[in-house]
Amino acid sequence: MKTLDLNVTWNSIKRSIYKFSRNKISVVGFFMVLFIIIVAIFAPYLAPYPKHAGAFVDFNNASKPPSLTYLFGTDPFGRDILSRVMFAFRGALIMGLGVIAMIVPVGVLVGLIAGYYSGTWVDTVIMRITDVFITLPALLLALAVAALMQRTLFNSMMAVAFAWWPWYARLTYGMASSVRNEVFVQDAETIGASKTHIIFKEILPNCLAPIFTKMALEVGWVILVGATLSFVGLGEQPPTPALGTMVSDGAKYLPFQWWISTAPALAIMFIILAFNLFGDGIRDMLSTEEV
């Protein structure tokens, strides 16, 4: 699996890129993701009315339908929806990537330990704990936890992370516990390699592929859950734009001011789509299936 021969690695990279690009759709996904990231980072420069994402109201331009001045129209506060959606990408991205960044280390570490000690009481205890978390769908647990905390983006991220980490623990555990019995691990042990060496140098590298795949595939879901939280008002608080909040607020003005909730709803779908396609690509790329 792990090799240092440069041109082999270079080859494998080329190969991976081919695997990824073989499916044109995932290439599209890649560019969509890229687009989202760029918009999020440069929102202040790209957005037509950056001010509208902050403390700003202009009731004289409230609820204007899409026009050249306001491409996606304005909301009941007279704020440009396009600009707000662009800024909302930030929250969405932070949610998606942030949560993944929080849970993967935790989940993977726990999984590794459980996997290393598979068959012992450590394994049992850890895995039962994850079972407990998993009996409830992540969204439910996240809702409950988020409700207890101050309503901020970070807290809702914490809530999602709290509900989500066990899935990584289980995935890693699955891999680790099987790798653990591989010959090369046994050997490493017999020649007296340290626990940490075995866990991180021997086992971990062989678990990475599925973990990365899962990460890539799940960013979208995390964002979805985040959007749901903010839909019920448990996320980022106004005036900072959050897509879920924008949809739920906009929904009040349907069907007449349809544009208020349409744009953010489409934005959510766009983001999730982007990350799904991208994730599929990553999956193909890391799959061991021969081409």
Binding site: R15, Y18, R22, V291
Partner: protein, 330 residues
């Protein structure tokens, strides 16, 4: 000639892969007469299975047929309509696969699989068949494949049977749907050595009884020796020699065939290549010349330039090698 059953003319098949097109079959010619048993010998990867699958049009999606024709009873299989195909598969030809485990759907009982097979083969000949008959026919089919207490077997799932039994089930089904030609693709490779013989003998006697032609695909010359009348020696998707079985052992011409024979003592089911220096060629960019040239002990300059035609040297004995064609290189 009237008794010619199958005639494969200049068949070219390749596989699409990441690096490009694997040109596997490079103009293969095979003839099978009614009731004749021929063998196709070659190392694993020489394209034997590809030939078999092309004959039934069950090649994987990545396969590309870019030339030649497969005349079965003078009809080109490659041009057949759906209905013609189903007749071909349901009644004319059938095939026994390498791996009996993989070739039986794991979640259905032997009974339901085999009776489906029989039902459709019957409906082709227009004869409806009711369940009681069906059971009977199924049981008979199994018994004919000399399987013990067949009626209990019907209720079993494939994974409850031994490898040998699975292969027998497959054989039973294959014969139930093959009147004219049976293709056996390394039917014994995945079986326990002890029962390989039984299975082979079973195939042989069944074929004889029903006077069905047989194409036996294998890498083992021993098997060919005892099972077939005529042999095609294949290397890297080309036929190098075509000869009656007796002559094969008496006076083989082609250096490759010789090499094969020289390995027989070492031969033990496994790959022949072990005995021959050099390795299988790369199908991506095969040499324009003779495909064996890279490994040929007697290689000549011309061999790298042109690919030798298959010429009849003695009656019924064809060889594709410049050593024996009149056209000698300087």
């Amino acid at each position: 000639m009237s008794d010619l059953l199958l005639n494969i003319k200049d068949l070219k098949v390749g596989y699409k892969v990441y690096e490009g097109l694997l040109r596997v079959l490079n103009g293969v010619n095979i003839e099978v007469n009614k009731g004749e048993r021929i063998g196709i010998v070659g190392e694993t990867g020489s394209g034997k299975t590809t030939i078999a699958k092309s004959m039934l049009r069950i090649l994987p999606k990545t396969a590309r047929i870019f030339g030649g024709e497969i005349l079965f009873q003078n009809k080109d299989v490659l041009k057949m309509s759906r209905s013609e195909l189903s007749v071909l598969r349901g009644q004319g030809t059938s095939m026994i696969f390498q791996d009996p485990t993989a070739s039986l759907n794991p979640v259905f009982t032997v009974g339901s699989i085999i009776s489906d097979v029989i039902r459709y083969s019957r409906t082709l000949s227009g004869s409806r068949i009711d369940s009681s008959q069906m059971k009977e026919t199924a049981i008979n089919a199994l018994i004919s494949a000399s399987l013990p207490d067949a009626d209990r077997l019907l209720a079993n799932y494939p994974f409850q049977l031994s490898g040998g039994m699975r292969q027998r089930v497959c054989i039973a089904m294959a014969l139930a749907t093959a009147r004219d030609l049976l293709i056996a693709d390394e039917p014994t490779t995945n079986l326990d050595v002890t029962i390989q013989d039984q299975v082979l003998r079973l195939i042989k006697e069944l074929v004889d009884k029903k006077d069905t032609s047989l194409i036996l695909i294998t890498h083992s010359l021993a098997v060919v020796g005892e099972m077939t009348d005529r042999v095609y020696v294949m290397y890297a998707g080309t036929i190098l020699e075509q000869v009656n079985t007796q002559d094969l052992f008496k006076n083989p011409y082609h250096p490759y065939t010789r090499a094969l024979l020289s390995c027989i003592p070492k031969l033990s089911g496994g790959g022949i290549a072990s005995g021959i220096p050099g390795q299988m060629l790369d199908y991506l960019n095969p040499p324009q010349g003779c495909r064996f040239s890279s490994r040929c002990p007697k290689v000549m300059p011309i061999c790298e330039k042109e690919s030798p035609p298959l010429v009849e040297i003695e009656p019924g004995h064809k060889v594709a090698c410049f050593l024996f064609t009149t056209k000698q290189g300087a």
